[in-house]
């Protein structure tokens, strides 16, 4: 089964508000996934809408509205996290293979707990790849980074997820370079 979603193509003359109606729940869910806090998520959505509205005239191809708004929302979420100094739980030993292996078996954490502990940019890549179903090239376009950088960041993030989740490679497969 493909992880890529079918999207309804917006009509050429749909207004910002009309297009937004179909996206607002998704925008909130993505924002919430970053901050895990209702008010912060609403603030992020608000910022994104204001910025989106202001730049809407620059969006020539309305079929890209969803991608375009998500990009704005992600930037707003990252700005919000930076500005509000949102505390993202961080465990240094995630990044040092083997150190935490002793405890690995008792770390039966669900995906949302593990996701919460990722860095904001790691969350972004996981959301874009596995929630939105974007290709590496599309993610590179959205984040305005080279494909190679996205590949290596995704690879590293998947390794982290794999290590942190009890089921690890049996369920998610090996973290290879073929994403």
């Amino acid at each position: 089964m493909s992880i890529f979603k079918m999207r309804k193509l917006p009509e050429e003359h749909d207004s910002f508000e009309q297009l937004l109606v179909n996206e607002q729940n998704k925008l909130y869910r993505i924002a919430y996934s970053y901050v895990r806090n209702e008010q912060d998520a609403l603030d992020i959505v608000q910022d994104a809408i204001i910025k989106g509205y202001k730049s809407f005239h620059k969006l020539k191809d309305r079929s890209l509205f969803s991608t375009w708004m998500i990009r704005i929302l992600i930037n707003c979420a990252l700005d919000h996290i930076r500005r509000e100094k949102v505390v993202v739980p961080f465990e240094a030993d995630w990044y040092i293979p083997h150190v935490n292996e002793v405890n690995q078996t008792i770390m039966s954490m669900d995906i949302s707990h593990v996701f919460d502990q990722l860095k904001p940019n790691q969350k972004t890549i996981i959301l874009l790849r596995f929630f939105e179903g974007y290709s590496i090239r599309e993610i590179a376009d959205i984040l305005e980074k080279p494909e190679g950088t996205i590949k290596s960041q995704l690879h590293r993030t998947l390794q982290i997820l794999k290590k942190k989740l009890e089921s690890g490679g049996d369920v998610y497969g090996e973290a290879s370079s073929r994403y």
Partner: protein
């Protein structure tokens, strides 16, 4: 990878949506965005710039003058809420419903002034001005980090806002919150902890009394005509400063016509004396190519400033087709519509297909009243254009007396350069859908 995809999808999809709060947030964001647009958008009179996607159009500066403002002379003109607020807030200033705060706190060489405050069941508005010490340089945009408390409890988490510095220092700024659950007397605290990179303590404590009027109606009849067009008023909320309407409208274009179509829903205030007040904002969805193959549906939550103290509203859906061309101007993409213009004089005829005859022009102390002989199907009237100053004056109200219609404009000084101005446009009317609501 498929399992990870499913888990991530499930994780995100299972986030509970706070429907009401999200809806409010979206509406508030759109309101803020359109307000910003309005503040920064300067347009030449016959170029409606960048409107392809604008759903609420605001027509010009003069239209924001309410009757009360025109009649009031200079009273309260210095109020920041009056100068920067919408018609609803302006009326609250004029009627003395805004409380004077006159609070100021200075820290780190920066003085913060809270000048006025207002609360009702649709909003809280507080005017803020900042005066920095001459040694402090502010960037183009000033960033405020703040927190609001009601009866000692935070209203939401701490927030931050970026405000154009010039606006904040010279003209003041209105902070608007759509938090609506204020008690009759709200004990408020406003703490600013950071202004740009300067940390400090600018704390204010004050009381605001809520303007209690709050009328909510939801049992309105759905209007539908034989062609499948429909208008449903789902809910109406009226506070002293705002009318909030939730509507569901479906309109079909009845024939193929070339031009630019604008689907509109005008909310006309109906005074007890028969005067009808033309809205400053008209819900509008615009297309630059004909749509003849289907309906246009709206599901809209419209927040309209209550510039006049009326309780009845006439809701008029219609479609306008303009003729003209798409152009690119300094302000973005726009549309240069064809228009008629004739001298500002009695007995002139405006337009050809549905001509409007100027019967009489009367100068009153506070307004200019023009009597037209015309077919009134939709609340659309000629504008008055000053060729020398490029200033456009828009109608503010009208009253019908059989075959003639008296239309009031803000007082215009008669000069040589005046002309009547009207876009060349045709209307599709929906008389079966027109609805009057009474919120008494």
């Amino acid at each position: 990878m498929e399992k990870l995809h499913q888990d991530i999808k499930q994780m995100v999809d299972h986030v509970t949506i706070p429907d009401e709060k999200l809806h409010s947030t979206v509406q508030n964001a759109l309101l803020k965005a359109t307000k910003k647009e309005k503040q920064t958008h300067i347009k030449k009179h016959h170029i409606i710039a960048a409107i392809a996607s604008i759903f609420v159009m605001a027509f010009g500066v003069l239209l924001f003058q309410s009757y009360e403002e025109i009649a009031s002379g200079d009273h309260s003109k210095k109020s920041i809420l009056f100068q920067n607020g919408d018609e609803g807030l302006q009326r609250m200033v004029m009627e003395g419903k805004v409380q004077d705060l006159s609070l100021e706190v200075e820290d780190q060489g920066i003085k913060v002034l809270l000048k006025e405050g207002y609360i009702d069941n649709s909003k809280m508005a507080v005017s803020i001005q900042i005066i920095p010490d001459s040694t402090i340089t502010f960037p183009e945009h000033t960033s405020l980090t703040y927190e609001w408390l009601l009866d000692g409890e935070p209203i939401g988490p701490p927030g931050s806002e970026r405000i154009p510095t010039e606006e904040l220092i010279s003209n003041g700024y209105i902070y608007i919150d759509i938090y609506t659950n204020f008690p009759p007397t709200a004990n408020l605290e406003f703490h600013i902890s950071k202004i740009n990179e300067v940390e400090g303590n600018w704390s204010f404590q004050f009381q605001l009394s809520k303007n209690e009027e709050f009328i909510v109606e939801s049992n309105f009849e759905v209007k539908q005509d034989a062609f499948g067009n429909s208008l449903q008023i789902i809910r109406a909320e009226l506070t002293p400063s705002e009318l909030n309407l939730v509507t569901n409208v479906n309109l079909f274009l009845d024939e193929a016509v070339s031009g630019f179509q604008d689907y509109k829903l005008a909310i006309v205030g109906v005074g007890s004396d028969g005067e009808r007040y033309i809205p400053s904002q008209v819900m509008s969805t615009f297309y630059d190519t004909p749509r003849v193959d289907g309906k246009q549906g709206f599901y809209r939550n419209m927040k309209l400033p209550r510039g006049v103290n009326v309780y009845s509203y006439l809701i008029v859906p219609y479609i306008i087709t303009y003729q003209g061309e798409k152009v690119t101007s300094a302000y973005g993409e726009g549309y240069n519509y064809d228009h008629y213009s004739v001298p500002f004089a009695e007995d002139e005829i405006i337009g050809a297909e549905n001509p409007i005859k100027v019967e009489k022009i009367k100068q009153e102390s506070d307004r200019t009243v023009v009597t037209y002989e015309m077919d009134l199907g939709v609340p659309e009237f000629p504008y008055i254009h000053n060729r020398d100053t490029e200033e456009m004056t828009y109608p503010i109200s009208y009253r019908s007396d059989g075959s003639t219609i008296e239309v009031s404009y803000p007082k215009i000084e008669t000069t040589k350069g005046l002309e009547f101005f009207m876009y060349i446009k045709t209307y599709q009317k929906f008389p079966g859908l027109q609805t009057e609501i009474n919120l008494n």
